[in-house]
Symmetry: C2
């Protein structure tokens, strides 16, 4: 991919609207475009990261036997009246009437709609258990949208729902999802902690939150620096009596045991093996996909810009060509690397070295490949690792081998 | 994929709400779920087809140098006031206020938003030309939603936008998109025609429609049965004077030369090489992704169900096991086929042959693989091609080779 042909237009100045590190770097690096307060579009760079995160999620969800579907954003208010949540969530729901006076809302979540689907198709214990999920856009009329895509009015979520005949089944699916979440966040390069949480508006019997420690976090947890354990609303560690320390956290995932709240209210019933009608036992499992993107940046950056983990980076390496005379060699090397399956941003622009280095650091590919004086004089290509700043010098063949190995290509 | 584990629940009866063949078969085959009139969710089978169609579109768009992004569905009404289209499109726009009294709408299309994006980042002729596209959910308050996903209030579109410095550039990008569209629809298995069309609410200088002949079409074209050419509002063929015949068409794609209507109104200006500010010259290019899915079914079915083209089918073959005794052999064969990269639906359910055949025909995989008497007695596996009904008998190794070759695996 040639830089000059890519929709990458980094900003020289820090954007005035930026409220935190991730917000600033994603705007400055032309990952995100602010449409209006709390409303963002993903520019091509941001879209690439979004796809990488989504595909990691898909891989781990599918490996647990979950099936992907895509539910509507528009929902009739009637399905919310069945559970009473049109009242509980009324402040955050975007509601309106269509031309036929039908009361619609934009789904802030999809428990009601998935329960309608399962009610229609599942009628026997033989059809259970099931896990269904989607990666889809949600809408919430936030009181205080902030921090870019950390808390916005339109955001992308992965929401999964499990349906079982009994508590054992629910526990099994809950554990599957819990384990998938650990794999997903680990693969995304996030250092997270898990904690038992309130079920709040979801109304279930147990739940866990997945959190990333970050300055901008809106959740507060108490940490025992001795045990390394986390608690809510406790002053001293229940294990070792050490005074707990407050830490701010971004919530990136949440798993809930819902029980029969939705299935009973919406009559999503199945016949058990003795012919008795019972509500299915449900669980729900959410990941804030757009928020994961922000949380990764919030915990992977330095003064020069973003430092993407290899698993989600929009480009595996940025190849910076510092001399017009070797532009065609640079493009040719970039294309050779791309043929091995690597994603390379080839910076062949007629800009000074300073501009090119700054853009490469800001955009944040895990490696910068530099073709300059060293190449012209000695045929050597320099490589700098973004995170460690470690520098190496390679022949062309050595460089190709190094990057192929770094990315298992 | 085991049938018993898949969210596939075909309906025995024709759904009462079905208004046409594709609507009926997609509901009956559990591809779609009707949430409310004009609002649909894609069940796992439907989602698979949607992904296949989307990936064909991506491949051809990317090959023309177009870059993918993802714009917001929520849009502030102000950007529409700049072009006056808040009036032109007011009847089909879902509009509402948020809790801060901000006037928002759900994007029925994205010319205004993409123009805002390009206005922010593009300021010089050196940054042009560009083609940007997204595959995204659109919302329209339809007077008469009908035919399932052919005309619904929430639907998926691929919308692309080109930006150029002059008419020559626009023509080049327009031709690129025109050519990509032909490749896309061909690969999707659609027999389409193209026709020059009115630009309507888009306000451009030239446009072409891509149409598929179908009984439920809402557009009428006049066809010369002698020349094979198509015209609008003509009684006799202008070439051979033959009386034209009316044909109904589904519009699946539309390309427009927009000119400067949006860029001038929204001040998306660039500096030309003499330092003069000029509005960019735009084109826009839409494909109704959900509608393509319906159009494929509308033109690929028989009395028993859907006949998917190989390129978009949710499963490459349905493997029907007719004897409980050979269930493990059937599953093992299915898994062998899956290891070659083929997508196999293994029907290992304890149902009668009639039910299994009916479901396989309805779901519409291009091939049905049958393990029954012929396998038990002679070790032979039968294969039936969905479209031609042609039957073959194979050894296991022959069958694997045949399917691998059929799908270039």
């Amino acid at each position: 991919m040639l830089y000059s042909k890519s929709f990458i237009f980094t900003l020289r100045e820090d954007p005035k609207t930026a409220e935190c590190i991730s917000h600033k770097l994603l705007l400055k690096g032309s990952y995100l475009f602010m449409v209006s307060s709390g409303i963002y579009s993903y520019l091509p760079l941001g879209f690439r990261v979004l796809e990488n995160v989504s595909n990691i999620i898909r891989k781990h969800m599918n490996s647990k036997g979950a099936e992907e579907l895509l539910m509507s954003a528009l929902q009739p208010i009637e399905i919310w009246q069945k559970t009473g949540r049109h009242e509980v969530l009324k402040d955050v729901m975007f509601k309106f009437k269509d031309r036929k006076n039908r009361n619609l809302c934009l789904g802030p979540t999809h428990e009601e709609e998935i329960t309608e689907i399962v009610r229609k198709y599942v009628s026997s214990y033989k059809q259970l258990p099931r896990i269904l999920y989607q990666i889809q856009t949600k809408f919430r009329d936030e009181i205080r949208p902030r921090f870019g895509v950390v808390r916005s009015c339109e955001f992308i979520m992965k929401d999964a729902y499990s349906f079982d005949i009994d508590e054992n089944g629910l526990n099994e699916n809950y554990n599957k999802m819990f384990s998938a979440y650990k794999d997903i966040f680990k693969e995304c390069g996030l250092e997270f902690i898990t904690t038992e949480a309130d079920s709040g508006a979801m109304g279930g019997s147990a739940s866990h939150e997945f959190m990333v420690p970050a300055e901008i976090g809106e959740d507060i947890l108490c940490e025992c620096e001795k045990c390394g354990k986390h608690f809510k609303e406790t002053e001293n560690c229940p294990h070792c009596a050490t005074k707990l320390k407050e830490k701010r956290m971004i919530e990136i995932g949440h798993v809930f045991k819902l029980g029969t709240k939705y299935s009973a209210a919406q009559e999503a019933l199945y016949l058990d093996n003795s012919g008795k009608r019972k509500p299915t036992i449900m669980g729900c499992y959410g990941i804030g996909v757009s928020r994961v993107l922000a949380a990764i940046v919030e915990t992977n950056y330095d003064e020069k810009g973003i430092i993407w983990p290899k698993s989600v980076t929009p480009f595996d390496a940025t190849l910076v060509c510092l001399d017009e005379k070797i532009k065609s060699e640079a493009i040719s090397l970039g294309e050779k690397l791309e043929k091995t399956g690597l994603k390379i941003l080839i910076d062949e622009r007629s800009e000074g070295a300073g501009v090119k280095f700054n853009d490469a650091y800001l955009i944040g590919s895990p490696y910068m490949v530099i073709m300059g004086k060293n190449y012209v004089s000695y045929g050597k290509i320099d490589l700098e690792e973004r995170k460690t700043k470690e520098k190496k010098s390679f022949s062309e063949q050595e460089l190709i081998s190094f990057l192929k190995e770094a990315y298992n290509k």
